[in-house]
Subunit: 150 residues, 2 copies
DNA sequence: CGTATTTCCGATAAAATTGTCTTAAAACTG
DNA sequence: CAGTTTTAAGACAATTTTATCGGAAATACG
C-alpha cells in the first residue's frame, strides 16, 4: 500500500473540510460519522495535523477543527508528509539507505521517475481545487453509495 | 512505504539470483548472508515465490533455490504480486472500495496515471535485464558499501 | 456556579507485519 | 546406514500499525 491508514483517513478528512468550505469549526465527531472513521483515531490524526500547523482546533461547544491556512496553500502532499513523513518522496523503493545516483540500486533511476510523478501529482493538487471539485458533485470520500460528501 | 519488507527482500533476493545467472541451486543461507537479510524470514519469502511458480527449491547438499522460469520472463511486478498481492496496481489511493470512473474519489484520475506509471515500470523491467545490469557493475543490492552484489 | 460539549492525552487492546526458534523431512556423502 | 546439509513448516515473540477507552482540561451557556 502506498499510504498508511492514518494518511488515508487524514486526507479524506482534510478534503472533506475543504469541501465544506468556510472557516467554522467542525466537530471531529461529526466528521468521523460522515466519513465513517473511528472517532478517537481521527482525533489523533487531527492532533498531528494541528502540530504540523495545517489545522487549528477549538474546545467546547461550537468547537472542532478547521483549516488553519488557506486551502489553496495546502497540498495533499503536505498532508501525507505531516502524517506519514517524507519517506515516500525520498526513499529507495527497495529500502536501501543512501540509494543515490552514485550508489544506486538497479531500480533507482526508474523509481525516481515514478516517485517524482507521484510527488508532482500530490504536490500540485491543493485542497482548494479538490474542495471545489467536491462541491461541484460527482465525487465521493466514503465507502458507501453516497454521492459527494462535501 | 510503497512495498512491504517482504517484497523489498524478495525483490532484492530475486535480482541477486538473476545477477548470478546460471541454473544452479543457491542456498538461502548464502543469499541471506550476502544480502544481510534474516535467514528464516527469507526462507519463507522463497516459499511464497515457489508456490507462485517463480522459483524452484531443492533440499540437501548442493540444494537451494533457483529461478524456475526464464529470467527474461519474470518481471519485478510479478515478484511484487506474488508477495504483496495485486492491490498496489488495482486499489484506490484513499483505500475506497470500488473507486472507479463512475464513482471516483477526488484523486482517482490522477492516481490512475501514477499507478499505471509504476505498473508499467515494474512490469517492463525483467530479471534478465537487471541481472545483466548487475553483472556490468555499478549497482548494489545491500545497505553496505559493497559494489555490485551479483 | 453547574452542566453539557468538545478537544487533549495517556493507557490499553487488537491486528498485522516482521523476525526468531525448533523440529521435521528430504537429499547427498561416505 | 549414519551423519551432514538444506529446505519446509509451524510455533512463538517482537514490533508497528490500527483501533478503543476513560478521564482531564477547556469552553460555552444558562
Amino acid at each position: 500500500m502506498l499510504l498508511s491508514k492514518t494518511s488515508e483517513y487524514g486526507i479524506r478528512a482534510m478534503l472533506h473540510l475543504a469541501g465544506i468550505g468556510g472557516d467554522e469549526y467542525v466537530p471531529v465527531k461529526k466528521i468521523s460519522q460522515t466519513l465513517n472513521i473511528s472517532f478517537h483515531f481521527l482525533t489523533k490524526i487531527f492532533q498531528q495535523l494541528a502540530r504540523a500547523g495545517l489545522i487549528s482546533s477549538y474546545r467546547g461547544p461550537n468547537g472542532g477543527v478547521r483549516l488553519e491556512i488557506d486551502a489553496s496553500k495546502i497540498t495533499v502532499k503536505a498532508v501525507v508528509v505531516a502524517l506519514d513523513g517524507p519517506d515516500l518522496f525520498t526513499q529507495c523503493v527497495l529500502g536501501l539507505p543512501g540509494c543515490t545516483e552514485d550508489r544506486p540500486c538497479p531500480l533507482h533511476s526508474h523509481w525516481i521517475t515514478s516517485r517524482k510523478e507521484i510527488e508532482t501529482m500530490l504536490g500540485q493538487k491543493t485542497l482548494a481545487e479538490i474542495g471545489s471539485d467536491l462541491r461541484s458533485g460527482g465525487y465521493r470520500l466514503t465507502a458507501g453509495a453516497e454521492w459527494t460528501d462535501a
